[in-house]
C-alpha cells in the first residue's frame, strides 16, 4: 500500500488510535463509493437478466430490412426506437436516444464544473453549474417521459398477437413489438434508471439550495457537491451501459 510509508513517519500511537486515513477520502465520500458499488450490482443484475432473457428467445433471422414485429422472436431494438418528437412517420433509428445520451453526458460535465467551483470556494460558480446540471436532469426526464409515452401508445400498424388479434403499444403483460418480456424489461430497466435520475435531480436541488442560501459556505467546504456529483456521474455511467445493451446491441 502506498500510504504505509506516509503513516510510518507518524507516531505509532496515531497508527492504531484512528489517527490516519489510509484511503485519503472522507467518510461520506467513501460511503457514497460503496453505495455506488452496490448500486452497480443492482443495475448489472437487471442488464444481465436482460441478456439471459434475450438469449432465451429466438433472434430474428433474415435481413433487417424485412423485419416486422412478431411475438415469435426478439425485436431488433433500432426498429422499435426510431421515432423523434415532431417528426411523425419519419424513421430515425436511435436518434432520439442519442440526444438523450448527450443531454445526460453534458449534465455530467456541468456537474464536474460545479465540483471544481466548489473546491475553489466559488459560490457563484457552484450555483451556476448546479443549476445547469438540474436543468439537464429535468430535460432528460422529459425526454424519457416522451419515450415511454410513445412506447406505451405504440404505432399505427401495431403488432399481431399469437391468437391473431392486433394490439397497439405496450403494457407489462403484452406488447406489439415482441415477446411480453421485452416491454417488461424496458419498463424495469429504463424505469429504475429514470428513478435514479429523478432522485439525483432532487439531491442536486437540495445541494443547490444549500449553496444558494450560503449554508455550505458557512460549513467551510463544498464537499456535499462532490458527493452528489459522484452519484450524478454514476447515473450517467449507468445510462452509457443501458444505451449499449438495450438500444445498440
Amino acid at each position: 500500500m502506498s500510504s504505509t510509508a506516509v503513516v510510518a513517519s507518524d507516531s505509532d500511537k496515531d497508527l492504531w488510535m484512528g489517527g490516519n486515513e489510509p484511503l485519503k477520502a472522507s467518510y461520506g465520500k467513501l460511503m457514497m463509493w460503496f453505495f455506488l458499488l452496490s448500486d452497480a450490482f443492482s443495475f448489472s443484475g437487471l442488464l444481465i437478466a436482460y441478456g439471459m432473457i434475450r438469449f432465451s428467445h429466438p433472434a430474428f433471422q433474415g435481413s433487417p430490412d424485412e423485419f416486422v414485429f412478431s411475438q415469435e422472436y426478439w425485436p431488433i431494438p433500432e426498429k422499435v426506437f426510431e421515432a423523434v418528437p415532431f417528426l411523425h412517420g419519419v424513421s430515425l433509428p436511435l436518434v432520439f436516444v442519442g440526444i438523450m445520451t448527450f443531454v445526460l453526458i453534458l449534465s455530467s460535465v456541468t456537474m464536474v464544473l460545479a465540483v471544481e467551483a466548489g473546491q475553489r470556494m466559488d459560490r457563484k460558480g457552484v450555483e451556476k453549474w448546479m443549476l445547469w446540471t438540474i436543468l439537464g436532469g429535468l430535460a432528460f426526464l422529459g425526454c424519457q417521459a416522451w419515450e415511454w409515452t410513445h412506447f406505451i401508445v405504440g404505432t399505427e400498424q401495431g403488432g399481431r398477437m399469437l391468437d391473431g388479434t392486433f394490439i397497439h403499444g405496450a403494457s407489462l403483460s403484452q406488447n406489439q413489438y415482441g415477446p411480453p418480456n421485452f416491454a417488461a424489461l424496458f419498463f424495469f430497466i429504463t424505469g429504475f434508471h429514470g428513478f435514479h435520475v429523478f432522485s439525483g435531480v432532487c439531491l442536486n436541488f437540495l445541494i443547490f439550495y444549500q449553496a444558494t442560501v450560503g449554508k455550505l459556505e458557512k460549513v467551510g467546504h463544498y464537499e456535499m457537491v462532490e458527493k452528489v456529483g459522484l452519484y450524478w456521474h454514476f447515473v450517467d455511467l449507468v445510462w452509457v451501459f443501458v444505451f449499449t445493451f438495450f438500444y445498440l446491441v
Partner: protein
C-alpha cells in the same frame, strides 16, 4: 480549507483551474466522438458477434473516462481504486452463468 477568512462573508475565491477545465473538455470530446463512432457502426455494419464486441469495448472505454476523470477515481489512492474495482469480478461469473443458461432455455423452449 480557507483558514484566511476572518468573518463568514469574506471567503477567498481561488481562480479557475484552467488545466482541470481543459481536461474535462477533452474527456467530453472523447465521449462525444466515441458515441458518434458507435452510431456510425450501428448504421453501416451488419449485426454480429464482432459488432457487439466492438460496442462493448467502446462502452468500457467510455465508462473508464467517466469513472476515472469525472468521478476522479483515477486520482485516488490505489487501495480505494482496487476496493471499488475488484468486487466487480463477481459480475464475470454472473454474465457467463446467465448467458449460458439463456441459451439452454432457448433449446428446451
Amino acid at each position: 480549507m480557507s483558514a484566511e477568512h476572518h468573518e463568514e462573508s469574506t471567503v477567498v475565491v481561488q481562480p479557475v483551474d484552467k488545466a482541470k477545465v481543459r481536461l474535462f473538455m477533452k474527456v467530453t470530446l472523447i465521449l462525444f466522438v466515441i458515441t458518434m463512432i458507435e452510431f456510425a457502426i450501428a448504421f453501416t455494419v451488419d449485426a454480429g458477434i464482432l459488432r457487439t464486441a466492438v460496442f462493448i469495448a467502446l462502452t468500457i472505454v467510455k465508462a473508464f473516462y467517466i469513472v476515472s476523470e469525472f468521478m476522479h477515481l483515477g486520482h485516488e489512492v490505489k487501495t480505494l481504486i482496487w476496493s471499488i474495482l475488484i468486487p466487480l469480478i463477481f459480475l464475470v461469473w454472473l454474465i457467463i452463468a446467465l448467458i449460458y443458461q439463456g441459451g439452454q432455455v432457448l433449446l428446451v423452449r
